[in-house]
């Protein structure tokens, strides 16, 4: 049981270069795997491939094997993959359906499409809204939300699907610290309680440090480092890879660089 990429390469339709090269990555049920790295390094492409949208929906050329619990996504139907893997795009506006009048309907849209019984649709919708503390937005027009609110609604709509695997492309990029904390809690709960396997791309390394056991660093289309989050986030070359180390790591380095003493109890 896992969402697994083996020797995966990917090239966008019409492109002359590979966006992903030789990627090996597995996400087990109940596990949160983090991905970070410089921009334009292939993180979002990795999400599209892991979520089955590339190449099923957007075309392009896939090499290697992407499988969900043993079944290859190649040759599967998009809706079959979509029922197993929920994907959150980097831009919430790309996620929202633009077809319903309220936030509540937006979040209920997915569960409804799964033909779940009505009480289950209602329970999942309120559950997702409450997990992210946005139940008070339920009557609002999804097209008239702030950037951060829209991002939370988009995530709620994916959580309400309760897929076996979640692929999240920068889920907290527009969120305030409290929203970021709520997302971290909701994801940890999804992993622990419903056993979801979660792949999360983030620049916020403090969040990754709290949330993930394992971390992959993606640069120039390849996974250049992979290991425990603690080891990866302590790598001296993080800055060069375009990754801002967690605040505690940064501060310790700044203190030590001036010859000061860093007390480990400060973290």
């Amino acid at each position: 049981m896992s969402l697994r990429l083996e020797g995966v390469g990917y090239r966008y339709a019409g492109s002359a270069t590979d966006a992903l090269i030789d990627v090996d990555l597995a996400i087990e049920p109940g596990e949160v795997v983090g991905v970070c790295g410089p921009n334009a390094g292939g993180k979002s492409t990795l999400c599209l491939v892991a979520g089955g949208l590339a190449p099923l929906t957007i075309g392009g050329q896939l090499r290697g094997r992407v499988s969900i619990d043993g079944s290859a996504t190649a040759g599967a139907k998009q809706y079959e993959v979509a029922q197993r893997v929920g994907i959150l795009f980097q831009e919430p506006q790309a996620q929202l359906s633009d077809s319903v009048p309220t936030v509540w309907e937006e979040v209920a849209f997915g569960p409804r499409n799964l033909s779940l019984p009505l009480d289950e649709v209602v329970a999942r919708t309120w559950g997702a809204l409450e997990a992210l503390d946005i139940a008070d937005l339920c009557e609002r027009d999804p097209g008239r939300l702030s950037g951060g609110q829209a991002q939370l609604v988009a995530l709620a709509s994916v959580l309400a699907l309760q897929p076996a695997y979640l692929v999240l492309d920068e889920p907290t990029s527009q969120l305030d610290p409290e929203g970021t904390r709520l997302v971290a809690e909701a994801l940890a709960r999804a992993a622990a309680v419903t056993g979801a396997g979660i792949l999360v791309v983030e620049h916020k390394t403090d969040l990754l440090a709290r949330l993930c056991a394992r971390l992959a660093i993606v640069e120039a289309g390849r996974i250049v480092k992979q290991g425990t989050a603690v080891t990866m986030l302590g790598l001296p070359e993080l800055d060069e890879l375009g990754v801002s180390p967690p605040e505690t790591v940064r501060l310790r380095r700044a203190v030590e660089a001036t010859g000061g003493h860093w007390d480990p109890s400060w973290t």
């Binding site: 410089p38 334009a40 008239r144 702030s146």
Partner: protein
């Protein structure tokens, strides 16, 4: 109240209610001196983006008034305000429309009447500032999100407006992107231009801006220097609008070093104490 001399922009009793009845702003009094670096922070939905959209007339106050360069915004045309206030939106896809990076950036300055060499140089320097110098012929939608975001910032830089507003500039940026934006803010300030940014990244805010305005539910609840705003006495207010003081500020307070909103201030307070 008369607008102070040297104010880039100001608002008096500014209130705004969206047409669907959602109240976004109440009684905003803000005075932004020319040449300052000002950050606006606050929880999601607190009215930050709504507020800055009043600065170039995209939204019109339903109460009170907004003045740019001492003149009331409501009496001026958006096209005229666009020469004074440039806004890079939070969502780049609400802004981008052209078929190439170069023409996207050239659109604004061309509308301001720039032609030939002058236009080329405005476009070139704006693209270089965001490190997209080599992407002039690229279709904007072939760029990833973070670089589309940098492109919208370049479009605003190319307008060379005295006031530059950046709505969540660091969203989706990696460390290099954040450093690029920090450099842009410093350059604009050195040129005497006024920079206003909306952000949730309090470390970026504390290290890059000289004044911080904190919003909660459409009102201003704190206004001061990073050292004032992130001081321990204000943490309860910050937390009431979903903000967490920067780690350096928290550690400084814990060690009794006073208000140390930035890494630099914490490190120097530490070395002064030993």
């Amino acid at each position: 109240m008369t607008p102070s001399a040297g104010a880039a922009l100001s608002s008096e009793g500014l209130g705004f209610v969206y047409p669907d009845g959602t109240r976004a702003l109440t009684g905003i009094d803000l005075l932004v001196p020319a040449g300052i670096r000002l950050a606006i922070v606050g929880q999601n939905g607190s009215g930050k983006s709504t507020l800055v959209r009043h600065f170039n007339g995209l939204l019109r106050a339903t109460e009170g008034r907004v003045l740019v360069g001492g003149e009331e915004v409501s009496r001026r045309h958006v096209a005229e305000l666009a020469q004074q206030v440039g806004i890079a939106f939070q969502n780049p896809d609400r802004q981008i429309f052209a078929g190439s990076v170069r023409s996207e950036v050239a659109f604004g300055p061309r509308n301001l009447g720039l032609r030939g060499e002058e236009l080329e140089s405005a476009v070139k320097s704006a693209l270089e500032a965001v490190r997209l110098g080599g992407e002039g012929e690229t279709n904007p939608y072939d760029l990833g999100y973070s670089r589309r975001k940098l492109l919208t910032i370049a479009s605003v830089l190319a307008m060379r407006t005295p006031i530059v507003v950046l709505d969540e500039p660091t969203t989706g940026q990696d460390l290099r992107g954040v450093r690029t934006i920090e450099g842009i803010v410093a350059t604009l300030a050195a040129e005497g231009r006024t920079v206003i940014a909306v952000s949730h990244d309090l470390r970026f805010v504390a290290e890059t801006f000289e004044r911080v305005v904190v919003m909660r539910q459409g009102t201003i609840v704190l206004d001061g220097t990073p050292s004032e705003v992130f001081a321990e006495a204000n943490w309860a207010t910050l937390r009431s609008t979903n903000l967490e003081p920067p780690y350096a500020a928290r550690l400084g307070a814990r060690l009794g070093l006073g208000s140390t909103p930035t890494e630099e201030s914490l490190v120097s307070a530490l070395s002064a104490g030993t």
